[in-house]
Symmetry: C2
């Protein structure tokens, strides 16, 4: 048989294979969460067998970590840039939103990896995730504190709550995007601009 899965090498170099495995793994992790994702299912998606993944990534944790770094790297960098453009107005919140939509454009569902609740609570993954989450949270928090201070509210608890809410807004709008894949990143940005306007009226 010339077609179908055969034994022996298929001539795909390691770097290329790794890239492909990570892409499929991101999709599977996003759909099923860390706990629910199955290594053999990821292998099936990539058209290879399980041991090859273990040879390249060592463990499920190793694979997830690779996915996490790929997803978070670009996203966080863009976000930190965008946050510099935010001022005291609600409307200026559009900048970080646009940054997120553009960074996520190739694989919007990658977003879910960052806040996967079924991720292990200790170990290398937890450390890396905590690092990324801390950076994200601090961005939201500093913005919220400034926003409230400009309106005469200085309670740290209020700032903390508003920061949490803002992150919830971002999360839910990205989830909405996942449910409406026909929408482009630009369209999402416009839509959010319109909604922000309506709310601040």
């Amino acid at each position: 048989m010339s077609s179908g899965a055969a034994i022996g090498t298929k001539g795909v170099p390691r770097a290329e294979r790794e890239e492909q495995i990570v892409a499929e793994a991101i999709a599977e992790f996003a759909e099923s969460g860390y706990a629910g994702a199955s290594m053999v299912e990821i292998a099936r998606r990539a058209g290879i067998s399980k041991p090859l993944i273990y040879q390249y990534f060592g463990s499920k944790d190793g694979l997830f970590l690779a996915c996490l770094h790929q997803v978070s790297g670009g996203l966080l960098a863009r976000l930190e840039d965008a946050e510099l453009e935010v001022d005291d107005s609600v409307a200026s919140r559009i900048y970080p939103l646009r940054a997120i939509f553009e960074a996520l454009d190739p694989q919007p569902h990658a977003w879910r990896l960052l806040f996967d609740p079924s991720m292990p609570a200790s170990g290398e993954i937890a450390v890396a995730a905590r690092e990324y989450r801390t950076r994200t949270t601090e961005l939201a928090a500093s913005g919220s504190t400034r926003f409230l201070a400009a309106r005469g509210i200085t309670s740290p608890a209020d700032a903390s709550a508003l920061s949490a809410v803002w992150m919830g807004v971002v999360d839910s709008i990205v989830e909405w995007w996942l449910a409406h894949p026909e929408e482009s990143a630009d369209q999402m940005t416009e839509r959010c601009y319109r909604l922000l306007g309506a709310i601040t009226g």
Copy 2:
């Protein structure tokens, strides 16, 4: 030994035991999600052994279903009442928030059961969860449509997105509450009132 787990009945009537099991199960499901929750761990929390749970609830699905009904029943009823008081203003959104805080007061983390992503996607659980989610979503959606219409926006997609965002806001503020358990339901309501005021300026 007079103390410790012994064989044979302990004289606790079925109704009482079931109530206690459901309470512990809600806590475990909320902490670990459906997929991550362990039946033997729930049994350990309740101070009994696993087969008793199976005798009373039949399966993990059956137990989760019982928890879901208990959580959603009261919550949805209150929410539907509160939605009647909402008008076109942002500020009136405080009513459903208050209803949620009050309904959740005894076990705030119960909130997580409703939107647990690791819940099975088919079967009786999926049907029940979909029913509850649909009712919740429709409440949010009708409010959003009205809100936008009052501001001259009639796009159904905008209404759908705003509805998703509003649900995200609710979810994140409840999660913030879970992280700050010293807060009472009344304090949460006041805090939200203040924040809504700041945003609408």
